[in-house]
Amino acid sequence: MIAPSRVGGPAPAVHPPEGLGASLGRLASRHPVVWRLSSLVLFFLAWEIAGRVPISYAFPTFSATLVALVSMMADGSLFVAYGSTLQPLVIGIAISGVVGVVLGIVMGLSRMAEWLAAPLFVVLQAAPMAALIPLITFVYGIGLLAKTLAVIMLALPVIVLNGYKAVRNANPSLVAMCRSFQGTKLQQIAKIIVPDASPVIFAGLRLGLAAGFIGVILAELLITPTGIGDLITYHRSVANYAEMYAAVVSIILVSTLTLAALESFETRLLRPEKRRG
C-alpha cells in the first residue's frame, strides 16, 4: 500500500544507515497521504482480525467482504443496483443543490425571505427524517417520486441553512469596499457576497450530499426494496453476510469519493488561492 507513494518523491529508504522507523517517519511527514493510507490499513487489519476471531457468525472478514464485492461487480448485480439507487439520488441532489443554494442566498439577502422560510428549514433539519419517510410513502406511493422526495427532505435543509448563514455573514468590510467603488447591488452579490460565502455554501452542499445518500438508502430500506437498499436487505435475509457488508462498504466508498470530487471541484472553480499551500 505504501509503495506507490514513494514513486514520486526521492526514496528515503535507499539510505542504508537510517533505521526503517526513521525513514518511514520522514516519508510520512513528507507525504501526508501515507498517514491516511496507514489509518485505512490499520482499520482493515482490525476488521480482518475481528472477522477471524470471530466476534459474530454474521460478521465476515475483510477479505471475504472484498471477495464478495469483486464477485458482485463481476456478475453485474452491483451495477444494476447502483443504476436504480443513483437515479433518485442524482435528481434529488440536483434539485436540492439548485433550489437550496438560490433559496439560501435569497434568505441571506432579504430579512423578509428569512422570516418566511427559515423556521420551516430549522424544523425540517431538527426533525427525525426516518420517521417522516413512511408518510411520504402514504402520499406519494413507492415510486421514484417518493425516493426523490426522501433525498430532498434530507438534503435541502442543510444546504439552505448553510447558504443563508454564509451570505448573512459575508465580510462587511468587503461589502463596504465594493460600495465605496460604486459597485451595483448586483455586482456586490455576484463579485463579493457569493464568492465570499462559497466555502460555507459548498460545505452545505457536501453535508447535503451526505444527507442525500442517507435519504436514498433509508428510502430503499423503508419504502421500496430496490437498488443498494434491496441488495443489503436481500443478502441479509439469505444470510450472505459478506455480500451484505460488501454492499454497505460500496455505498460508503461511493459517497466518500463523490464528496471528495465535490471538494476538489470547489477548490478548482471558486477558491484558486487554496490551490497553493
Binding site: N171, S173, L174, A176, M177, C178, R179, S180, F181, Q182, G183, T184, Q187, K191, I192, P195, D196, L270, R271, P272, E273, R276
Partner: protein, 264 residues
C-alpha cells in the same frame, strides 16, 4: 478691506475640495460627532487625529458616503454627497482585499466594477502595482503577502480609479513598525507625485505630524474639532532629517499637550 483682499487672494492657493458642514452623527444612545465644520484644501494631506472613540473614522466614512450623517452635509467640489462617488476612493484599515483574487485583480477591481475592459484595466493596475513597489507580485494572492504589502495593494486599488480625493482609514495600524515607516515615506512620495487630496485618519501623533500638511484634532466623544495645526516642516529634507527636525518634534509635543487631558 485690506484683510478681505488677502483672504480672496488666498482662495486659489487653498481651494476647498471637500467641505463638511454641521455634521452630527448619533447612534441610538451615543453621540459620535457634534457639529463638525471643516474644509479640506485641494492637493493637501489633512489628518484627522484624536483619541480612540472620537469618531474620526465615522467622519471619514461619512465623507466617503459609506454611512449617513444624522444631520449636516458634506460637499465634494460643491456637490452634496449622497453615497460613494467616483471622485473619492477609500483605503480600508483591514485592507478589504478579496482573498480569492490575485493582486492584479484586487488592484483592478474598482475599474472592473466600472465595466472597463480587461486589457485596459490591467495595464492601469500594473502601473500602480509598480508605483507601490509590488512589481512581480501581480499573480500572488493576499494571504501570500505581508500586512504591509497587503495595504500597498489597497493603496494601489484606490489610486487606480484616479479619484481626486483619497480617504485613508488608519491604513498603517495593522502594519508592523518597520514597514510602517517605510510605508509613510512611500506615501509622502506618492502624495507629491499624484497631486491628489488626501484625508488620513490615524491615532499616531508621530505619524500625523510626519505625513500631514494639516492636522485636525478631534476631541473625545462627542467628537468636535478642537484644534487645527499646520506643521511647518521642510518636506524636501530626507526622512531621517525630518524625524530629527526641531519643528517636527515641537509639533508632536504640542499635539501631545493638547491631547494629554483626554487620556485617563
Amino acid at each position: 478691506m485690506a484683510h478681505l483682499a488677502v483672504a480672496e487672494a488666498a482662495i486659489p492657493a487653498s481651494e476647498t475640495v471637500v467641505a463638511v458642514r454641521g455634521i452630527c452623527k448619533r447612534y441610538s444612545e451615543v453621540e459620535a460627532l457634534r457639529l463638525i465644520d471643516l474644509d479640506f484644501p485641494r492637493g493637501k494631506l489633512t489628518t484627522l487625529l484624536g483619541p480612540s472613540g472620537c469618531g474620526k473614522t465615522t467622519l471619514l466614512k461619512i465623507i466617503a458616503g459609506l454611512i449617513a450623517a444624522s444631520s449636516g452635509e458634506v460637499r465634494v467640489n460643491g456637490k452634496p454627497v449622497t453615497g460613494p462617488g467616483p471622485e473619492r476612493a477609500f483605503v480600508f484599515q483591514d485592507f478589504a482585499l478579496m482573498p480569492w483574487a490575485t493582486v492584479m485583480r484586487n488592484v483592478a477591481f474598482g475599474l472592473e466594477l466600472q465595466g472597463m475592459g480587461k486589457a485596459e484595466r490591467q495595464s492601469i493596475a500594473r502601473n500602480y502595482i509598480a508605483e507601490v513597489g509590488l512589481t512581480g507580485f501581480e499573480d500572488k494572492y493576499p494571504h501570500e503577502l505581508s500586512g504591509g504589502m497587503r495595504q500597498r495593494v489597497g493603496l494601489a486599488r484606490a489610486f487606480a480609479v484616479n479619484a481626486e480625493v483619497l480617504l485613508l482609514d488608519e491604513p498603517f495600524s495593522a502594519v508592523d513598525e518597520q514597514n510602517r515607516r517605510k510605508f509613510q515615506e512611500d506615501l509622502l512620495r506618492l502624495v507629491d507625485k499624484e497631486r491628489k487630496t488626501f484625508i488620513f485618519v490615524t491615532h499616531s501623533i508621530e505619524e500625523a505630524v510626519y505625513v500631514s500638511d494639516r492636522i485636525v484634532l478631534l476631541s473625545r466623544r462627542p467628537g468636535r474639532v478642537s484644534q487645527i495645526i499646520e506643521p511647518r516642516i521642510d518636506r524636501t529634507a530626507s526622512p531621517d532629517a525630518i524625524r530629527r527636525d526641531q519643528g517636527y518634534l515641537d509639533t508632536v509635543e504640542e499635539i501631545w499637550q493638547g491631547l494629554k487631558h483626554y487620556v485617563d
